[in-house]
C-alpha cells in the first residue's frame, strides 16, 4: 500500500522558514493555528532557576507568573545534602518535597496557583528558606 503523501501546509512551511521572503509579512496573513501557537508561546512564562548551596537558596525570593517552571540546581562538584519542601502553600495548591541531593542534581516544579509559597530545606530548616510569589 502506498503511503499517503505528507500534507505540507503553509504553517509547516512557515515553521521551516521556507516562506521567508516569499510571502509578505502582513499582519493577519498567517494561518490561524500559527498565530495561536505564537500567542501560546508568548504566554508561556520563562523558566527560572534557583541555586541550592550551603546553606541557602539563590535567589531566596522569587516572583514569577503562573505556570512558571522553577528548577532547583545543586552544585556540580561538592556540597552538603539539601532538599526543598513546601512549608506553606496557597489554598488548593499542591505541596511538594524534592529528594535530598548533594550535587549534580536538578529538581523542577511548575507553579500553577497564584499566591505565596514558603519553602525550606528539611536539613537546615532554621536558616535555609525561600519564598516564591506567584502572580495572577
Amino acid at each position: 500500500m502506498r503511503r499517503p503523501e505528507p500534507r505540507l501546509g503553509l504553517a509547516a512551511l512557515a515553521g521551516a522558514g521556507l516562506l521567508a521572503g516569499a510571502v509578505p509579512a502582513v499582519a493577519g496573513s498567517a494561518p490561524a493555528d500559527a498565530v495561536a501557537t505564537a500567542a501560546k508561546k508568548k504566554r508561556r512564562p520563562k523558566p527560572r532557576a534557583v541555586k541550592v548551596r550551603d546553606n541557602y537558596y539563590g535567589p531566596a525570593k522569587l516572583k514569577v507568573r503562573r505556570n512558571t517552571k522553577v528548577t532547583w540546581k545543586w552544585p556540580s562538584d561538592i556540597g552538603d545534602t539539601h532538599d526543598v519542601k513546601t512549608r506553606k502553600v496557597p489554598r488548593g495548591a499542591k505541596k511538594f518535597q524534592s529528594p535530598p541531593y548533594a550535587s549534580g542534581a536538578k529538581y523542577s516544579q511548575t507553579f500553577k496557583k497564584p499566591g505565596t509559597y514558603k519553602l525550606y530545606c528539611t536539613f537546615h530548616s532554621t536558616e535555609m528558606t525561600m519564598t516564591v510569589v506567584v502572580k495572577k
Partner: protein
C-alpha cells in the same frame, strides 16, 4: 462453577515475599532496588557478591523492619556510586537511603563514591547498621538524621568530606531511645565522628585516627533541636588525627565548613563545640599534634555554649607514650564544665591547671570563666586552612597495631 483462587495470604506472599535474593545474573532480581520494592514489611533482601551500580531507596512504613544483607563476607557486596542514576535521571546520591521506615537493618555492604552519603537513615525509629564499609562518599559514611534511637556497629568509614559517622538533629524525647555507635573505625576523613544537635548518643570502643579531627559533637544554628546534649564518649582510642586535607592534591575535599568562615580544626582528638552534658571518659587520646581535647563555645549562638560537660579518667598523650600537642585546651566559656583524673596532662595555658579554665569535678558544679585571649587563639587557628599545620607539635609515634600514621600528608 466457582473456582477457588489461592488464599489471600498466599497471593500477598507471592506479591510481597518475605525473602528475596539479588544477584548480578541468574536470580529473580538483578537490581537491589527492585528487590526492595517487592519485599514484604519485615522481610529480607539477600544480596549475592558483586558490584551494583545503583543507589537504593527504602521509603515509607511499608518497608519497616526490612533487612538488606550482603552475602559472602563483609566487603563483597559493593554499591558503586560512579555512574549510578536514580529514577529521575539524577546521579544516585546515596548507597542506601532509608527514609521514614523504622527498624531497617543494613548489613555487610560497601558503599563507595556516592556524591552524598554511603548509608543514610532519616526520620526513623531505630535502625541497625552493621558490618558496613563507606569509602570516599562526598559527605558522610554512615549518617542518621532526625531519628530516634539506632545503632552503628562494626563498621568502617574513610575518605569523607565531612565525617565517617554522623548523627544529627535528634528530636528531644521524654523517654529517650539512645543511639549506640560502637566498634567503629573512622580514618582519613575530615572528621571521624560529627553530630550536629545530636542527643542521647553513646560512642564507645571505637578507633578514630588519621582524621582532621577525631570525635566532634557540635551545636549549630542550621539544624533544629540545639544544643547537642546528653552524650558519652567512652573507651575509645582517638589518636594521630593529623590529616591536613587542605593540602593541594588531597583526595578528600572538605565540604564547605558549616561554621561559616571558620575551618574545622585539624590535629585534634576530641572537640566539644557548644555542647551540654557530654561525658568524655576512659578514652586513650594521644598523638594528636594540636590538641587532645578541645572545648570551645560559639560566642555568636547562645545555645552553643558548653555546659555541664565532664572530661574524666582519660589516658592522654604522655600515658600512652605519644604526646598530644597540648592535652587539653578550653577558652573557659559556659558553666559546670570540669576536668578530673586525666593523669598528668599538658594544658594551654600554663603547666598548672587554671582553676577557672580547668576546674575539677568534685563538689558542686564549677563556675567557668571565658578567657578572651584563649578565644582569640582559637579564632586565629580556625581562620587558617593549610597553615594550621605550622603550629602542630610533631614527633614520631608509638606503633599502634598495623595502623600507619599519615601526619599531615594526603591519603596514600
Amino acid at each position: 462453577m466457582a473456582v477457588a483462587g489461592p488464599p489471600a495470604s498466599a497471593a500477598a506472599a507471592a506479591k510481597h515475599p518475605r525473602k528475596v535474593t539479588v544477584c548480578r545474573r541468574g536470580c529473580a532480581y538483578s537490581s537491589i532496588q527492585k528487590a526492595v520494592n517487592r519485599v514484604a514489611k519485615g522481610g529480607t533482601v539477600r544480596i549475592r557478591p558483586g558490584t551494583y551500580v545503583e543507589g537504593v531507596v527504602v521509603k515509607g512504613r511499608r518497608k519497616d523492619g526490612i533487612t538488606l544483607r550482603g552475602l559472602g563476607g563483609a566487603r563483597r557486596v559493593v554499591l558503586q556510586g560512579k555512574g549510578a542514576r536514580d529514577a529521575d535521571g539524577n546521579p544516585a546520591q546515596n548507597g542506601v537511603f532509608v527514609d521514614g521506615a523504622d527498624g531497617v537493618r543494613l548489613e555487610r555492604l560497601v558503599a563507595r563514591n556516592f556524591p552524598a552519603n554511603g548509608f543514610f537513615v532519616r526520620n526513623a525509629r531505630g535502625y541497625l547498621m552493621r558490618n558496613l564499609t563507606a569509602a570516599f562518599n562526598r559527605s558522610y559514611g554512615l549518617y542518621a538524621f532526625n531519628s530516634r534511637g539506632g545503632r552503628m556497629t562494626r563498621s568502617t568509614g574513610y575518605g569523607h568530606g565531612d565525617s565517617a559517622f554522623y548523627v544529627g538533629q535528634t528530636p528531644p524525647q521524654k523517654h529517650p531511645r539512645r543511639t549506640s555507635l560502637d566498634h567503629l573505625k573512622g580514618y582519613e576523613n575530615v572528621l571521624g565522628y560529627s553530630g550536629t544537635n545530636s542527643r542521647y548518643v553513646d560512642i564507645t570502643k571505637s578507633d578514630f585516627f588519621n582524621n582532621g579531627a577525631g570525635i566532634v559533637p557540635n551545636t549549630l544554628k542550621s539544624e533544629k533541636y540545639a544544643p547537642a546534649t546528653s552524650g558519652t564518649i567512652r573507651g575509645n582510642r582517638v589518636f594521630w588525627n593529623n590529616f591536613n586535607y587542605f593540602k593541594p592534591g588531597s583526595p578528600v575535599k572538605p565540604l564547605p565548613s558549616a561554621a561559616g568562615s571558620f575551618n574545622y580544626p585539624t590535629g585534634t582528638g576530641v572537640v566539644l563545640f557548644g555542647v551540654t552534658k557530654w561525658k568524655v571518659s576512659d578514652n586513650d587520646i594521644f598523638g594528636n599534634f594540636k590538641w587532645g581535647v578541645f572545648s570551645v563555645s560559639d560566642p555568636t549562638f547562645k545555645p552553643a555554649t558548653n555546659r555541664r560537660n565532664r572530661v574524666t579518667g582519660n589516658r592522654m598523650g604522655g600515658a600512652n607514650g605519644d604526646a598530644n600537642g597540648v592535652d587539653v585546651f578550653t577558652e573557659g566559656s559556659g558553666s559546670g564544665n570540669c576536668w578530673s583524673g586525666n593523669g598528668t596532662v599538658t594544658l594551654d595555658p600554663g603547666s598548672q591547671p587554671d582553676v577557672q579554665l580547668y576546674p575539677g569535678c568534685a563538689g558542686s558544679p564549677p563556675a567557668n570563666g571565658r578567657d578572651d585571649q584563649q578565644l582569640g587563639e582559637v579564632a586565629g587557628y580556625l581562620l587558617q586552612g593549610v597553615g594550621q599545620e605550622s603550629s602542630w607539635v610533631k614527633h614520631p609515634h608509638k606503633r599502634v597495631g598495623t595502623y600507619k600514621p599519615i601526619d599531615g600528608e594526603s591519603v596514600r
